[in-house]
């Protein structure tokens, strides 16, 4: 039994768009750890479009198509907050936009021993950022460990 109905999604998106328009530049555009409304902010900031919104058993996924071909997925918990983002495509998305206030924690994290250019594994407090790939094919994800709804399999967050 999904916790969101599709009608609600459309209303949410519509409302979000109206709110974005009303609030204008005051929305800095954050997403991880922020309310669902920031999904729309990301779409605007990233010059992207929402390709799909899907209700899963205990969360909702917004799939955002970036102009360069990369897919950015934002996972929303029942409390209405984005608890994970994941990406996949020829280039990385703007992670400052997608990670919001957690971006600085990712950038300032110490580089692990024996790092190469094909992998990323960061754990800074509650924030986990992981990535792999190579030129022409990147994938990765960031999530807040404490915000993952119960019953969600980490392997599904991609």
């Amino acid at each position: 039994m999904p916790i969101f109905r599709s009608g609600e999604i459309k209303i949410t998106i519509l409302l979000s768009a109206v709110l974005i328009a009303a609030l204008g530049p005051r929305i800095a555009g954050a997403t991880l750890g922020e309310p669902e409304i920031t999904v729309q902010s990301d779409v605007a900031q990233l010059r992207a479009s929402i390709k799909n919104s899907d209700d899963r058993a205990s969360y909702r996924v917004h799939e955002i198509q970036l102009p360069g071909g990369t897919l950015l997925r934002e996972f929303v918990a029942p409390d209405g907050k984005v608890f994970a983002v994941a990406w996949n495509g020829p280039t990385k998305p703007n992670l400052r936009q997608a990670l919001g206030k957690y971006f600085d924690a990712m950038v300032s994290a110490p580089k692990p021993k024996f790092a190469d250019r094909r992998h990323l594994q960061i754990q800074q407090g509650d924030l986990v950022v992981q990535g792999s790939g190579h030129m022409r094919a990147f994938s990765g994800r960031a999530y807040l460990a404490s915000a993952i709804p119960s019953g969600v399999n980490l392997g599904d967050l991609h």
Partner: protein, 409 residues
């Protein structure tokens, strides 16, 4: 041939001989009996490569070579730079500005703006202008080749669209090499940057005002091999086998061209073609992992297997630390359907191996985990190349055994 040996003037004979190499060799030369010049010696197409500790003394399983760059048109204003990483998982030559002593001219778009790049790697980005250089590796040369100069103080301001993709790797220390030589199976580092903006190429009206731009293919940063005058259809990496426990260093050869000289023949190599991202399938633990790749730029063997313990030591938690060394099986299938079965690889305890031999830089059994969300990938790094000769053929190029993009071994 007939027109070559006819009663024509010497200048025409010479011109004919340029296109018909055998002209005059058959005893029919009409030029008055002079001995034909001997054929030019084959281009030296071999450069040595080494796995060592690298310029930061922190590298493992990282392959390096040396590259000579000259100001275009100059044979004296040149510099040879060592510890350039050899990477089959990227495309193009990129040099770290702090080690570069020759002043390479920045490439200019038709708009008059300078061209710069935000090169993306999984763990960060490298920002800097695109410059032109005459590049020489072994006896091979590429004239006026677009190369990236990373961390160039002339373009010190990183645009937000670039810095927003992650952590800066603009110094030798953060980059872990003096440069990188991307010789993967494509010519360009972007599939469609001539028509689509990806946040990779930037037009800079001034050094501090750079905006995302499309770029004609000829101005993008290419795999240098594709611009060599000869031996330009691909390359081969030839490394000796190494003991399971590793070694301090490992030396071998990077050979340019495939089936272009006597020293780069395909022979009985098996061809596995790759897709538009350079990927193929690997079959591991009974699962087909469709987004897998063989990559000299990966320092370990990376895959997801939750049954193998990971290390607990700080900074090593991504690597596997099994109680005993494991021997695991793997098959690889090209996009052409060709299958290589029954390969095996070892997974050692990373912590134990590194502690036992702290001076080692070669670890064939160093393996690490991929995030669980990447269940469709097996990343077989430089260890795949140990004890093998691996050919990487560039897209659209024919060899005696196939057409690139492919990997063969």
């Amino acid at each position: 041939m007939a027109s070559c040996i006819g009663p024509v003037r010497a200048v025409l004979i010479a011109a004919c001989c340029l296109v018909a190499v055998a002209c005059g060799g058959g005893g029919g030369g009409g030029g008055g009996g002079s001995t034909p010049p001997p054929p030019p010696p084959p281009t030296n197409n071999v450069v040595s490569v080494i796995v060592d500790e690298g310029p930061t003394s922190q590298s493992v399983n990282t392959l390096f070579t040396s590259v000579t760059v000259c100001v275009p048109g100059s044979t004296t204003n040149c510099q040879t730079i060592d510890h350039i990483q050899v990477d089959t998982g990227s495309y193009g030559l990129r040099l770290l500005a702090p080690v570069l002593t020759v002043a390479l001219p920045v490439e200019t778009l038709s708009s008059g703006n300078s061209l710069a790049q935000c090169t993306q790697f999984v763990d960060g980005f490298s920002w800097g202008p695109i410059a032109l250089a005459d590049v020489q590796i072994a006896g091979e040369t590429a004239k006026s080749l677009p190369v990236q100069v990373i961390g160039d103080s002339r373009f010190a301001t990183v645009p937000a669209a670039c810095s927003g993709t992650g952590t800066a790797e603009d110094t030798v220390s953060s980059f872990g090499a003096n440069g990188i030589l991307g010789i993967g199976p494509f010519e360009l580092d972007c599939g469609d940057c001539d028509t689509v903006t990806h946040g990779l190429y930037f037009a800079c009206a001034t050094a501090t005002t750079c905006t995302d731009t499309t770029v004609p293919n000829a101005m993008q940063v290419p795999n240098p091999v594709t611009h060599f005058a000869a031996d330009n259809n691909g390359s081969m990496i030839d490394l000796p086998a190494v003991a399971a426990g590793g070694a301090v260093t490992l030396s071998g050869s990077l050979i340019f061209g495939i089936d272009t000289q006597s020293n780069n023949q395909s022979g009985t190599q098996t061809v596995l073609t790759v897709d538009g991202a350079g990927e193929l399938a690997m079959i591991f633990n009974g699962q087909t992992l469709a987004n897998s790749f063989i990559d000299s730029g990966s320092n370990g063997i990376y895959f997801a297997d939750s049954s193998i313990a990971t290390c607990t030591a700080t900074g090593l938690t991504s690597f596997y630390c099994p109680g005993n060394t494991l021997t695991l099986g793997l098959s690889i299938q090209g996009q052409n359907g060709v299958m290589v079965n029954n390969l095996t690889f070892g997974v050692g305890n990373a912590q134990t191996m590194l502690n036992a031999n702290p001076t080692f830089n070669v670890f064939p059994q160093l393996a690490g985990q991929l995030p669980a969300g990447n269940a469709g990938t097996f990343d077989y790094g430089l260890a795949f190349f140990y004890g093998k000769r691996v050919a990487v053929a560039v897209e659209g190029n024919m060899t005696s055994v196939g057409t690139g993009p492919y990997i063969a071994f």
